[in-house]
Symmetry: D2
Subunit: 342 residues, 4 copies
């Protein structure tokens, strides 16, 4: 049985990544693509790497025939997303890749996004899309909110440790390195090749990055108390991938065993042998997440390093993993491709 | 039905690419991997990006149990390949990725490779592996010789034109740009990141590159006369991909139509609308080949631009395409993944 | 004695490169910087790599006090440049880095730039800025027109050969590879890191690049007849540098000797031993130009490869070299820094 | 007055960088270059970017005429350096770029380098080469030990803070990102372009990097007690530059003011306005070091970010700065070139 899929906002990188993944999915069919500023264009005009595919022409959202759509991937900009999703017919399942439904608390949303949420009921209904930790809820959800790509990386490193109570909750530093596609296809000066190649710098330094809203919400809920981490993202001269170096106070052996136990049954999360460290290129263009643990020379401290591809496991791959669950399909369908190396 | 596959020389980039492709192939199973200098290691030690796969440990070639192997991919160094292939049992089908069986003529082999061929009978038996042009022979072959990656790019640009007699055979210039993985994982100074990044230079300039042996053999055979092209490869600061800019004397409209006709039924070769040009990133990590044709401002001259991924369509993907044919499988099995972009 | 310098359009890459070069120049002092859209900002806000320098704040052009300026570098967009230069007081010497005064013929200007020139008298007065070939005229000029960066590379490869009559004027192909800074700091999709890194493609294929106007003008003048070359530029995943691979019909030995003779006294143009080829990184961030000559395997054909840094020798370094001459200074002042490698 | 300079180990990247810098130095002249494995070659064969310079041929060390040499830059591998320096005549001043004389304590040397020091007297005599903090000693030294490039970055971030007692000495994390030229021109698999481009990973994770020996020595001496920091270096896909993100417990305003005071008179160390962060490309190919301070959202914590070019300020530029002092020259001679951007 084939499910009909629409991708709203298909002209961005996460939209193109969804098309790439669905292209070889055994039971999904793309029947509508929207991209307001590119309406009327073919997908191969916007992304010539997809020219071998037979895809619908890009349309405006209002021209999508939702009646025959089973599931929508919503890859629209923040704020636009909530407006559009409010109008979708009730039979349509939705995986939202924007930030609009990640935070459950209206005050937290206002704090991090600087405006009131226009669909607070949907905000309450939405299930947080970190599949490995919300699997059952996702199976039954109508609306799933894809996580921030950085937020995903940090949570794979910290959720099991906080849940197990094996680290000091007041001494957590996430030093994160993120490739440029996480910023999308936007025309910004710092995203130019001439600016970024041979460069590297921090951004949103000091705790102002919006993904901290997700960390605060999730970690505090797991811990049953307020948890505030330090988080410094850096922009790196690469196109895909996130590597998070997480400094914690805790015993490396216990931490490693906690991961081994937590992720034993997970198809996409791989815990490396203790002492080994991952590299972003080892998961590139795949849905895998690699986790390494190393003891620091200072007793009682450990370094956890997590890597994933921001466009795949951090965004579109995660979205497809969730869609598979929502449609009653095999969770791994269309997602077992090996990383591309070199 | 599952076919058992061995990859000899699995520790190089083409070996790793074969594993990547076969990992999601519906009817092939890797039952042996050899890598002499890495014998005893797991594939994930050599290539951690493959650590999610359940693969056989690397062995020495002599420890491979060929009895239950249906097809061997031979990704060994030049010269080693012919020695090994001579010893393989007759029931085993072979796709060779080395240069050893590309040239049918013993004198030509000696000229370009500086030594006598040690298996001239096999050299005669081998079928040249450019699938689109040797499809029927490949279906019935026991030994198929994968083409040079640059040689593949040049031939996609020129074979139909030479066959149709629409260009001047004495005025052909192939200016080619090749990514670094074509040189393999060898430890050479000019392949270091610090040397190549932000760099670009020609090599084997003036007509000394060995892939010219393939051009001479194939083009002369098609034309029924000696054809000698000019060919200048350049090393570019990228990991995957080849782009060949081919200068010909001929009418651009006729040339474009010749391509449209020649490749109409091909699943992997895509002719762009006249006037559009391809980019290496539009085929990255895929088995597709894009071809563009532009008329020059000088009457009677045209530019043909071809791009493909040297590790996929130029090598391991081509090898798998051939293996599919040799095993009676769907030619495109395991090869329809979309390019990875960005 | 110190000369007072203004840079108009200082917020672009060529402007920043001029500041870099002048920063250690023994007898030039930057007394005004304009950048209309950034007027009011400091240069270190626009280019933090210059924050160690004590520079004037960016102003609007109309706020520059030209009375005390000896020489202006005009790094404004095409068309804007001619409008501004028309208004400059007569005592000011001008090196223009735009395309506005490169073509001497009003019809040629209209053909390549699609509009009439607004200052045809200045167009006639302007001296073409390829220092090595217009040195005496430049010394006495009030207005010098910097060449196109690609045009410079092609001319270093071809002017001496055309002048000496040692190549076939009807069979010249320039296949050029250009780094991205040549396109400036403009916000265009194809200049994004995510688009260009790991990519390479041709542009203005077929003879539509504006620098052909310069080739046509200069080569035809030298030859005393119409000369039309083929010219295909490619955008490469690097920030600085141009490498031109030039295919000619001629004897490689004679060609090499022609270069050795032509450039014997040149401080910045270096002819490599015959058979050696240059690399763009060997001249990066310097004012040097390297030229290599290789005989093709086909008798009577040769490949000439030229490399230079588009921002230095191809633009701002060339401009400073010309300014030195116009001000009666040592031609090489401030320009002898070695290339940056790796 | 011109001083005669020898560079031992000139075939490595730090050797080439010394040549680049000295090429435009007003009062130094390179009179000998050694490179044992490349003895007999010209420098332009080893580094074609230097082919415009008139340099001595590479020789073996034993063929260097030290009698007329005023100062030696010793860019030899670790351990080789101490053996060679022991044999140099007493009139020769020495700037050593290896790790051999960075640690004053013989036990510490053994611990970090796994062998006994062969010249413990010289080890005692050597002055640690972080110019800004050992300026007076360096002026009078015969032997100066260049610091580790990472060690330099970490110390610019922490020495003033430890000296002023404004941070918690037990909670210091240095997360460092280092470009690949820091690893030299060695033929190692992980330094290949195909491996590193589009990649990023940690190395020596957990406190095993040798530069920790320098941190321990220097920070403990300043504090008057044992100080142990956490230090995780990462290899980034870039050629030049180090960026260290340093997490400290302390007040950001006080920390920023401490830097402003400490570096007020320094020509090469620039403290950014509070809240701004540096980028590695803003100091590329220059001797500058940029420092930024940002308050974390958690009260009492701050992030200090430091960037410098590992080959210049982190190694050869620092060495030249020290040589200038040792020879009684202006400290900044030959070092005021602006960074290269883009």
């Amino acid at each position: 049985m084939t499910h009909n899929i629409a991708i709203l906002g298909a002209s961005g990188y996460t939209g193109a990544e969804l098309v790439r993944l669905i292209a070889t999915h055994p039971s999904l069919k793309i029947t509508a693509l929207s991209g307001n500023s590119k309406a009327g264009m073919t997908m191969s005009q916007v992304y010539p790497h997809l020219r071998h595919l037979d895809l619908p022409v890009l349309t405006k959202i209002e021209d999508v025939a939702f009646a025959n759509i089973d599931l929508v991937f919503c890859a629209l900009p923040h704020a636009t997303s909530q407006a559009v999703i409010s109008t979708l017919p009730p039979h349509v399942k939705i995986v939202d890749l924007s930030a609009d439904f990640r935070l459950r608390d209206t005050a937290a949303y206002r704090k991090w996004y600087g405006q009131d949420h226009s669909a607070p009921d949907l905000q309450k209904e939405a299930v947080y899309g970190l599949t490995e930790f919300y699997r059952d809820d996702i199976r039954n959800a109508r609306l799933v909110a894809g996580t921030g790509c950085n937020a995903a990386a940090g949570q794979f490193a910290l959720r099991p440790l906080i849940a197990a109570g094996v680290i000091d909750l007041d001494r957590i530093v996430i030093d994160l390195k993120a490739a440029v596609s996480g910023a999308g296809r936007a025309l910004k000066e710092n995203l130019l090749h001439a600016e970024l190649s041979e460069n590297l710098h921090g951004y949103a330094v000091g705790g102002t990055h919006r993904h901290l809203g997700e960390f605060d919400q999730e970690f505090s809920q797991i811990a049953g108390r307020d948890v505030r981490v330090q988080f410094t993202p850096h922009l790196i001269p690469a196109n895909r991938g996130i590597l998070a170096t997480v400094y914690v106070d805790g015993d490396a052996d216990i931490i490693h065993q906690t991961f081994v136990d937590a992720y034993a049954a997970e198809p996409f999360v791989i815990v490396l042998p203790k002492g080994e460290v991952p590299a972003i290129k080892h998961v590139r263009a795949s849905n895998f997440c690699h986790i390494g643990v190393v003891a620091d020379r200072i007793d009682g401290r450990a370094i956890v390093i997590v890597t994933l591809d921001n466009l795949t496991k951090g965004s579109s791959g995660q979205a497809l993993q969730n869609a598979n669950l929502m449609l009653g399909l095999e969770e791994t369908a269309g997602l077992m491709m090996a990383p591309v190396y070199p």
